[in-house]
Amino acid sequence: MTEVKAVEIKAKLIPIYIMGKKYEVPETLTIMKAIEYAGYQYIRGCGCRGGVCGACSTVYRKPGSYKIMSGLACQTVVEPEMYLTQIPFYPAIRSTYTFEKLTGKPEEVFDLYHELFRCVACNACSKVCPMDVEVMDYIAALKRGDIKAAAEISFDCIQCGLCASRCMGELPQYHIAQLARRINGRYLTPQAEHLKTMVANIEAGRYQESLTGLKVMDINMLKETYTAREMEPATGGEDWIPKENIGL
């Protein structure tokens, strides 16, 4: 089992307010580790611990400013006097759809998410986004039917939901962005030709013989074949071709 180690108190302790209650925590910790240091065990509000899952969105204020600040608890270092809460969940309605039946027309997005047009460009969403995504800009892009731009602008979204929590138009931005990205990936970006060809070749059994050859090969022979395999150079271009065409 995980050893429960006492955190060496070498770092200076600073006061933070977790949901209004004061705790002294080492100044080098992230908000997440500080909350654990304070004695909480997470069930909600903690997922990847690496800044990509969006489970740990946190809002806070600092003395002397009316500003709402935001961050990911697992990524943001504590600051003295910060006054914080995590928002582990915020309701947002997602529309279901049959992906196969979409075609990539803007109207499809409009139909699934009428509320798009309730955006008044207040920008609260972009301001609160812990990933610095320009949320308002992708919503603006979608309103004018530019799904590709929306997909690109929203690419770093981790779907933490803070945008939706701040939206006066009550939009579920991150669900809409997810739809935009999928439409972009499938309908607005050319599908890879080499992939189609390869799948067809495999289905036609083109590589089966050479592969079976390897599978039944004596281990020493396999090791030799492995060592002798030609390496594609690191800096070569797309069109590099190996000298021999065994296995191709």
Binding site: A121, M136, D137, A140, K143, R144, G145, M168
Partner: protein, 296 residues
Amino acid sequence: MKISYYPGCTLKTKAKNLESSALACLDALGVEYEELPRWNCCGAVYSLSDDDLIHLIAPVRDLIRVQEQGFDTVLTLCSMCYNTLARANELMKNDEVKRGTINDFMDEEPDYKGEIKVVHFLDFIRDEIGWDKLKANVKNPLNGMKLAPYYGCTLLRPGDVSIDKSNSPVVFEECMEALGAEIVKFPKAIECCGSYQVLGNPEAALKVSNDIITEATAFGAEAMALTCPLCDYNLGHRQEEMLKKYEGTKALPMFYFTQLMAVALGVDPENYNLDLNQAVSQEFLKGKNLLEKVST
């Protein structure tokens, strides 16, 4: 010269023909333009409620983007966008208290005091290009086309943002005349097409639109020039309904004025999305032999 331009959402979807033709004309006239790199919907309609400042956030933000882009003038194509942006701009220029409130709210943006000039394509051509230069560039005059320019409301009202004299404007007629058209003036040219009433009260809107079309026809028009996607929806896309409902109404071809300008300037029809216009309109241009001339 180079100018910043604000397209507006509808021009990126339903009214691509307005944008593509306008840009083709700018190319033909040698005007350089640069679309705002970041922009949002203008709000679509200027809010009339006195303390509804939140709806001004969107257009003011767009004006700030123009400043960010490094321009002092922004060109609009859609008359609704023009109206919304221009009015928001007037307010920011003149109403110190509301300006303060709005700037305070948008504390992540630089303060804005109404420094940008908002122009519409029509007054831009009039003031910056001039009718003479426009005429000189015409390769394919609209000779013999009996054309009724229709302003609608938002280019002319309220007075402080009107691109011409509110009650007796001439800019649209002069522009079309420079392209060689025979102008049909008619009183309802500056009346409302029904606008957003189409959502709440479609029947009433249809009646208003029908009155406009029948009057223009009665004055001898064989085609109408428009500046606004909403007018195009009410007057153009709903014509079939009118024809069914009102006896005596005749189909009237509709064009964005920029499309007609593009025809006259000899731009290849590929470039202004005639396919988005009604069939009657496409037929009309063909009948006038205006398209063939371009392609030869």
